[in-house]
């Protein structure tokens, strides 16, 4: 089977957007340099001209409003932020203008656009270069918020957004996924509807709803647990954070009775809260035990590597949660994966970025 990296899929989606839709413009700080947004925009300026692929000054708020103005005028803007933290400078335009334009004007306007940004987690990024702010965006009616967890979902979402949809889409890519390889399905170039959630693993013992890189961690944890104990976890990739497939989640928990939410952001008012809301307002009695949440420590991100290690939940925490849920006790006594095994992926990361 062919494989594809996350980086590769996004790169192809960018080129496709430029080739197939001449209204597409691509801009942001760093889209034309030799790094090219982690490689995903390399050479595009040369291929498509500097009118369509261009640098911007440091001006996140205005360049977001710029995207809206361009979109209203028939262009398809792709605006890229090298880190999601910088989107905080653009909240006004995103929330007050973009999310409201179509509704506020009674449907007179369409505002298609894609805002890509990257969850900077990697390595000593500290409090201002690591945030995973999906909850802030998903709270606001009027925008689609996605977090592609794989090459396939990233590709399909971007193709769909650019060619078949009229809505503003905010996508948070994850820094650590860029080098991951994924199986490449034959139907990959067929666009599927991406503004929903996907079941990525079947199982009957526990449901894991995961976002972004936590989907990969969940798959690794589930495989490990399966091997060690035979327990089978069902995994749902939430993917569209703002418009998840609520039924898929409810049906899974109806079957398993146990739920873990594994997210890249903070717990309060975050994805964990939202999933809890879906269950508790629809069928709280599907839960045979309290929901377990794996998310960031309730603090800004510390730079020191030692603290950072505790700050982020990982596969071992997931395995631990599965055991304590399924054996209904905190001190389940089961063996956790070795530190080496857990770090397998992240360990390969090297700075400075």
């Amino acid at each position: 089977m062919k494989t594809d990296t996350y980086r590769g899929a996004i790169t192809r989606a960018m080129r496709h957007a430029m080739e197939k839709n001449e209204r597409t413009i691509l801009f942001g700080q760093g889209v034309t340099d030799h790094v090219g947004i982690l490689g995903t925009t390399l050479n595009l300026e040369k291929e498509f001209g500097s009118d369509r692929v261009f640098e911007t000054p440091l001006a996140e708020d205005s360049m977001t409003g710029f995207a809206l103005g361009a979109s209203l005028s028939g262009l398809y803007p792709i605006h890229v932020h090298i880190r999601a933290d910088f989107m905080l400078l653009a909240m006004n335009q995103l929330v007050n203008s973009i999310a409201k334009y179509r509704y506020m004007y009674g449907g007179l306007f369409a505002t298609p656009m894609l805002i890509r940004s990257i969850v900077g987690r990697s390595w000593g990024q500290g409090a201002q270069h690591s945030q995973s702010l999906q909850a802030l965006f998903a709270h606001i009616p009027g925008i689609y918020v996605v977090m592609p967890s794989s090459a396939r979902t990233a590709y399909a979402t971007y193709i769909y957004a650019n060619s078949a949809c009229a809505s503003p889409v905010v996508s948070l890519e994850h820094r650590l996924l860029y080098d991951y390889s994924f199986d490449r399905k034959d139907d990959e170039d067929v666009i599927f509807y991406p503004f929903t959630s996907f079941r990525v693993r079947q199982g009957g013992d526990v449901t894991i709803v995961a976002t972004s890189i936590m989907v990969e961690e969940a798959i690794r944890a589930a495989n490990y647990v399966k091997e060690m104990t035979g327990l089978d976890a069902e995994i749902i990739d939430l993917h569209c954070i703002s418009h998840p497939d609520e039924n898929l989640i409810i049906e899974s928990v109806r079957k398993t009775g146990r739920l873990i939410v594994a997210d890249t952001g903070w717990e309060s008012f975050g994805v964990c809260a939202e999933i809890a809301r879906i269950i508790a307002t629809r069928e709280p009695n599907v839960l045979r035990a309290p929901i377990k949440c794996l998310s960031l420590a309730k603090a800004p991100c510390p730079t020191a590597h030692r603290l950072e290690h505790w700050y982020y939940p990982d596969m071992a925490n997931l395995v631990d949660s599965i055991y304590s849920l399924c054996f209904d006790r905190f001190d389940h006594g089961k063996q956790l994966p070795s530190e080496e095994y857990v770090k397998e992926v992240h360990k390969t990361f090297k700075g400075p970025f």
Partner: protein, 306 residues
Amino acid sequence: MTVSHKNMLRDALRIRMVEEKIIELYPSDVIQSPVHLSIGQELHTVALMSLLQTTDRVFTTYRSHAAYLAKGGDLNLMFAELYGKQTGIAKGKAGSMHLCHPSTGLMGSSAIVGAVFSHATGAAYADKLKKNGDIVLCLTGEGATEEGTFHECLNFSALKQLPLVYVIENNGLAINIPLECRQSYRLEALARAYQIPYAHIEDSFNIDTIIAAARPLIEQARSASKPAVIEIATYRYKEHVGVSCDHNRKHRDASAITMWEKRDPLIVDRDLDAYRDEITAEILEAVCFAEKSEFPDHDELLKDVY
């Protein structure tokens, strides 16, 4: 006086009379939203818009009535919008603060001060890319220029040489706060720092000087794709929001209004009275259209949300 001057004065008077109608209606609560009146600021808006083509686009603020009408917005749809009716231009969802009329080029009005600078910039970029010969006009108050986005947009539109004219209506007030409490810069010097051509319109009641100052910049925006800043000294007759006067409030000079009114052609030019009847009739028809229209249904509530 030329025919076109007469038409402009007539159009300005029409805007004045529309807003006077709003003042009359307001206490009855048929218009249940804040209104920011343009009274005193109509004529320059009409004069500037006369230099635009229908395909040129305009972005403006909550103080949107004048721009809406001057850019060719439909009066029936406007009153229905103010009344919160389904037949309003935006089905009542926009209201006074957010008028728009895309078919004649009014692309939106934001109640977030400064937000439209960048919308206009993006629209002008599209024009430049499409080489369609259209330009964009962005009409805001002077207070809006204090927001950082103004700097960002001046920089970007100068960098990319966009066909975009920022028109700044300087009425000396942001809500109730005078300019001296807020600004340490002169707009002219600021524009020049980006090498953006600038024009100052001292007399907003003189069509000739408005046109003379604005035309070269607007034509240069169109033919040479260059941004420009036009500042207009103007005066807001009414309170910031609402239909009353506030001249004797703190921060305002109670005597200034007489000076303005004395020179205001919409007040002093008695020739214009000839237009009043037909304008009144048109306004009454629009009000009647609004009154007769239905309120939106419940399913409108969740329509058009992505």
